[in-house]
């Protein structure tokens, strides 16, 4: 059970992601070539620090109304249920959550840290409060086709669980009482789509975007970050920047409810819009079908239901979740067919009468996925990656899994994924009887391969052996990659001194996060010492605290310990003689690299542009 079930609520509103953009360019990590203009906003053809160098990484949920709710029997909550006048809000007793990239070479899995989610009534009273288990976005795609450059054209989704649930006074809401009843394990499932992010710093809605999401119960034994159900696979179309689904529909997931005779299909992160935040593109009539074949092997489609995705206000009210068929139950025969055959979505384009499959499950229905898929490891630490495999949504027991390094989704700056010896993990695994396996990845010291950026970034892909047969055409989701940042081992001087060990570390943060200068000049020994009490608190907080420093969470355990030790006795040491000499000229950043599509170049769009260019270059 997850958010994709009858008992759920939908919400719709805005999010804020006030990220800093100085660190989006890997070369800006190099203290030796850093220029003060990288802390300025982009100007004309000068990229400088892109569009938001003063960003503070704050993430907020703003004005998110609960737009609909339905009960366990699938019926809408009565219009008198007060939940329909409530909103989804973030914490009202701590600072804002933070949006954090894994690394400048992996900007496609930004996680939200330290977020609390509340259901609040109109007076702000909390009816439910829970902690969002840290999770990254996934399946970022170009929601506005040919919309031009910039992050406003993209859309992605977050799926996680809420833990440590507290309930307020919900006595007059049958819906919330039912939700509480269904979450006796202390968990709720949450999924939301983010799009229309405004990266234009001249706009009043700068750093705001649109969010539409769903909250429902979460089964304790199911994955936290995806549906143990049906997964429809898009294929990549041509184009720069974000992933463009060839069939016009992005990756999506569905759940078959045998008891209710319904399919819950989540198209929230699949449909494209006419403009950022605008209505959906009219792709023609849409039909969910089950794909079978006749005796001669020709495809046949068992119609399940039409999807009325163009209905007025549909996205606002449903966050893109369709319950199909709407007016009847699936028969036993239909359910049997669906259990053994792929689901597909047919579109009938205006250009022709023929409905064509836009997206579908693979013909064999095999699917494997890592639940949590973003990790930060210090040398000697391990990541426990939970793998789940299914076939047409049912657990796939005893199959073999092949795990391999894959750097197609990471890169930028110095080479990534090397040395391979810094990661130890089994190249093959066998799933247990419930279709699960634990992939243990142990990190060793990568040995500072990137020099001016700490540690190294790796990608590991896990695939079912049966899907790797030549010609390697089995459809897969490139975003479903385990991403790891492995920190370098760091040994400070003894006793630890500012100039002997820490100045370059602090200098880098001072360069990349100019906002910090409002509190402390991190590049200056005296300023850091003057603020040591505040810094000791911030560096010493729990890693998941929204106020943890650094918010970017890219400081290794060794360096963190050295800083905390040093703050107790902040010796300055001897300045190196070269420190006063002028920095050598930076590489020609902001000239050759920048074209007239500047407004989006420092964000996710730029990252994927660079990634695609690099891959093309490699071919």
């Amino acid at each position: 059970m997850s958010y994709l079930n009858p008992l759920r609520l939908h919400f719709y509103g805005s999010f804020q992601a006030a990220v800093s953009t100085v660190n989006n360019d890997p070369t800006h990590f190099d203290n030796a070539t850093f220029k003060p203009v990288y802390q300025q906003r982009q100007s004309g053809q000068n990229a400088n620090g892109w569009w938001n160098p003063r960003g503070d990484a704050n993430w907020r949920m703003i004005g998110c109304d609960i737009t609909s709710a339905s009960l366990a029997d699938g019926k809408p909550a009565p219009s008198t249920d007060p939940v329909l006048t409530c909103s989804i809000a973030d914490s009202d007793r701590n600072v804002a959550a933070k949006l954090v990239d894994l690394d400048p070479a992996q900007q496609g899995v930004s996680e939200i840290w330290g977020m609390e989610i509340r259901i609040a009534n109109q007076h702000g009273h909390t009816l439910m409060r829970g902690k969002y288990k840290v999770a990254p976005f996934i399946d970022l795609f170009e929601r506005v086709f040919n919309g031009g450059p910039g992050d406003s054209m993209g859309c992605a989704m977050y799926q996680s669980v809420l833990t440590d649930i507290e309930w307020g006074n919900i006595g007059d809401s049958p819906f919330l009482q039912a939700l509480r009843e269904a979450s006796s394990n202390g968990l709720l499932s949450i999924k939301f789509n983010v799009d229309a992010f405004d990266d234009d710093f001249t706009s009043p809605t700068f750093t705001l975007g649109r969010v539409a999401g769903t909250i429902g119960p979460a089964a304790g034994d199911e994955p936290r970050h995806f549906i143990l159900g049906r997964h429809l696979m898009a294929t990549a179309g041509p184009g720069q920047g974000f992933f463009i689904p060839a069939g016009n529909l992005n990756f999506c997931q569905a759940q078959v409810d045998q008891a209710a005779g319904k399919i819950y299909l989540d198209l929230g992160n699949s449909l494209c819009t006419q403009k950022p935040g605008g209505p959906f593109q009219n792709l023609g009539p849409m039909m969910l079908v089950c794909e079978t074949s006749d005796a001669a092997g020709n495809p046949e489609y068992l119609p399940i239901a039409a999807v009325d995705y163009l209905a007025n206000g549909w996205y606002k009210k449903t966050a893109g979740v369709a319950v199909l068929p709407e007016t009847r139950r699936l028969t036993k025969d239909e359910l049997n067919t669906i259990a053994r055959n792929p689901l597909a979505i047919l579109l009938t384009p205006s250009s022709g009468p023929q409905a064509v499959p836009a997206i579908s499950e693979p013909s064999s229905g095999l699917y494997i996925r890592a639940d949590q898929f973003v990790f930060r490891l210090n040398p000697g630490e391990s990541a426990d990656v939970d793998l789940y495999a299914t076939q047409f949504g049912a657990p796939l027991p005893a199959a073999r899994v092949i795990n391999f390094l894959d750097d197609t989704q990471i890169g930028g700056g110095p080479p990534v994924g090397v040395p391979e010896t810094a990661l130890d993990f089994p190249r093959t695994l066998v799933l247990d009887q419930s279709g699960r396996a634990l992939l243990k990845i142990t990190a060793a010291d990568p040995g500072n391969p990137r020099q001016y950026i700490d540690g190294q970034v790796y990608g590991i892909r896990c695939a079912l052996e049966d899907t790797l047969a030549p010609p390697l055409a089995y459809p897969f989701d490139p975003n479903e990659l385990v991403s790891l940042l492995v920190f370098d081992k760091f040994t400070p001087d003894q006793p630890i001194t500012w100039y002997g060990s820490l100045q370059p570390i602090f200098q880098q943060y001072a360069n990349l996060y100019p906002i910090m200068s409002r509190f402390v000049d991190l590049s200056d020994y005296n300023s850091v010492v003057a603020n040591r009490r505040m810094l000791s608190v911030a560096f010493g907080l729990d890693f998941g605290d929204p106020n943890y420093m650094p918010v970017t969470r890219d400081l290794s355990g060794d360096k963190r310990k050295a800083i905390l030790d040093w703050l107790k006795n902040p010796l300055d040491g001897t300045p190196p003689p070269t420190l006063a000499s002028p920095a050598p000229p930076a590489k020609a950043n902001g000239s050759a690299d920048v074209s007239n599509d500047l407004p989006g170049r420092g964000g996710k769009a730029a990252f994927y542009s660079r990634l695609k260019t690099r891959r093309k270059g490699a071919l």
Binding site: Q16, I62, A89, D90, S91, V95, T205, R518, S527
Partner: protein, 361 residues
Amino acid sequence: MIVLNRQLLDEIDQPGGLEKALQKAIELEHATLPPYLYSYYSLGADNYAAGSPNAEIANIILSVIKEEMLHFAIACNILNAIGGAPCIDKPDFIPVYPGPLPGGVESNLVVHLKRFSREHDHDTFMVIEEPETPLHFPVQALLAEKPVTIGQYYTKIRKKIEELGQSIFTGKPSLQVTGGSFPASELFPILTVADAVKGIDIIKEQGEGTSTSPLDPDGKLNLQDTFAHYYRFAEIYYGKALQAVPNLPPGTPPDQRYRYDGPPIPFDESKVLPVIDDPSESGYPPNTAAHYLNDNFNYAYTSLLKALHRAFNGHPEHLGPAIHLMHSLRELALEMMTSTTLPDGRNPGPSFEYQPVNPGR
């Protein structure tokens, strides 16, 4: 001088009056913060670092702000100690600006949220902090009458606590909040009459000084060697630090022992951010950057009150998040005061209003 309604003093003697008086004191301590913070923020981040043009002024205002927060915390601890419960999370906890301070204030003082100026410092900050018997350096005629001041109010609270004695200290010790960034000598558990008396004396003497010295005279409170708030704000107004006159003959009257003739406290008005006076939520039209920024600020400010309410109502561990929220307010205010302009060319500032949801429109 802030003049309280004399009735407030009489109410302390009524049943439950001490609890009410302490709640009122908590509200009063808080009510000074938005005007101080607004002016402090308007000095801009560039003036917080040592050596920058208005750094001295910023430091002085910040030092007062921190002590007002300490006084707020002490008053909460005393209220908890006698079995009360501080009520911090409520819409009318925040006064309306411009307007009078809470507590039946009888004076004409209307407190504004204004960008920093020496006039504002003189006309508002010095008036708020003016002691019962201010020492005028240079001399100015003492007021003939002696109305009820905040200091007298605390004196009466202290007297009542001493009168009622240890038996009223029925609150759970676990409700006492300590730590944060306050030294243990200033923020400590209030468990006895003596603790409460010491706490009130800290409030009075940091805020007002004594009738004979702008300093804590005999060091018995272990306070840092700084002047009371009134005199610190006066230093800003006169543009010079207050310092002791050397080689005084015995018997020199108290108001001739110090002079505002120390190192200069410079003020460069051109460096103050050009923010508007008395902002309000309704004054920022929907779908403007100022509106969104103000919402974020007010939501964080309301969250701060909620975090404090929680900290002083059984979850002392929430003082940490409250302090983080306090720091984040500065960031949000500075962002608001520097990142956008209003149609009249000035910059917006935060309106300090109770907003328990972030409406975003």
